[in-house]
Structures are given as C-alpha cells and as structure tokens.
C-alpha cells in the first residue's frame, strides 16, 4: 500500500459501518432499494379530502322532519303537488292498475 493511495477500501467500509452504527444511519453500501422512501412520505389523505368546502344546503324537508311543530311550507313540494293535481284534473294523471300501456298491449 502506497501512501498516495490512502487507506484501503475495506478499512473505509469498516469506518462507514461503524459511523452508521454510531449515528443511527442505515448501513447500505450497495445502495439496495429498501422501499424506505415510501415509508418516509407524508400521508396526504386529510389534505386531499378537505379540498372542497363542506357546505351542505339544508332542505325544508329536513327541517320539517326534525321539527314537525314548525309547520313550514315547502314551496317546491307544493308546486309539484299542485301541478300533479292540475294534470289529474285534465285527465293526464297516472293510469289505474291494469289500464297502462303495457297491460293493454298484452290483451290484444
């Protein structure tokens, strides 16, 4: 061993191993992929899940279901029922059982 070449490779490896043991590092001279980089990643689930603001629109139906004493009028529901009643008055309501399209087709 000449002076210019410095310490032997085996000695350097031993030094590396010892320093890893002292400082709590993982001794991995071949650079084998251990998958530790996956374990080091932060969990992004909570951040990802809270992207959209959680704004829930409360419907009149839900209020009446919780507090029936308030007697609130659901305007949308009222217009729906009114239009249904109007259609029924004009004879455009749903057919009775056995009077629909499919059952009349079968009879022929």
């Amino acid at each position: 061993m000449s002076l210019a070449s410095g310490p032997a490779a085996s000695k350097l490896a031993m030094l590396n191993k010892l320093s890893c043991a002292i400082f709590g590092n993982v001794y991995n001279p071949q650079g084998i992929r251990t998958g530790n980089k996956i374990l080091r990643q932060r969990l992004v689930g909570p951040t990802i899940n809270s992207y959209y603001p959680n704004v829930k629109q409360i419907k009149v139906r839900e209020i009446t279901r919780m507090v029936p004493e308030m007697n609130l009028v659901d305007l949308d529901e009222k217009t729906r029922l009114d239009s249904l009643a109007e259609r029924k008055k004009r004879g455009k309501g749903p057919p009775k059982k056995g009077q629909g399209r499919r059952s009349t087709l079968k009879k022929k």
Binding site: I32, R33, T34, G35, K37, I38, L39, Q41, L43, V44, G45, P46, I48, N49, Y51, Y52, P53, Q57
Partner: protein
C-alpha cells in the same frame, strides 16, 4: 348542490384518503428489493386490485364554484374567471386589479 364532476372528484378523494395507508404499505412491499420476489408480486397484484379512484392520480383539482377542471388557480381553488369575478367583487382579501 355541487356539480356532478365535483361529486365525482369528492368520491375519488374520499377513496384515496381511506385507502392511503394500506396502499402505502403495499407500495413499500413492492419497492423493497430485499423481499422475496413472490411477496413483491403478490403486493403488486393487491395494488392492482384497488379501485381506480384509490390512486392519487385519479383526483383533479377543480374550481370549487363552477367545477371547471382547467385554468384553476391552486391557491384560490377557483377557475380564472371566478377568480376575476371574486377579486373585482373584493371577496379575495389582498387581491386587487393592477394597472401600470
């Protein structure tokens, strides 16, 4: 009621968040070359068995107002036009129209 695309994205986000820990565990197994090849192959199969929405790549930042998927400013979570409207309205603190 949010747009359909937003609802779809919300679902994907919920799936990613719920399956993240288990997925990362399987990802660790597949990436660890010190493990036997059979274990790693099985972990890869398990990863493939997750629903499509479980991958973080399935989520896409959308405008929280309109649901637009392109031209969304990340810091405001708004698309460029909604950003302009809100900025002019004064709804975004510290943002004002510049002239020079």
């Amino acid at each position: 009621m949010p747009r359909a695309r937003i609802i779809r994205d919300m679902k994907a986000r919920a799936t990613v968040a719920s399956s993240e820990v288990v997925r990362q565990a399987f990802r660790y197994l597949t990436h660890n070359t010190a493990l036997p090849a059979k274990v790693r192959a099985q972990a890869q199969l398990q990863l493939n068995a997750f629903p499509r929405n479980a991958r973080p790549a399935a989520i896409h930042n959308r405008c929280i107002e309109t649901g637009r998927g392109r031209g969304v400013l990340r810091a405001f979570r708004l698309c460029r036009f909604q950003f302009r409207l809100k900025a002019l309205e004064g709804d975004l603190p510290g943002i004002r129209k510049s002239t020079w």
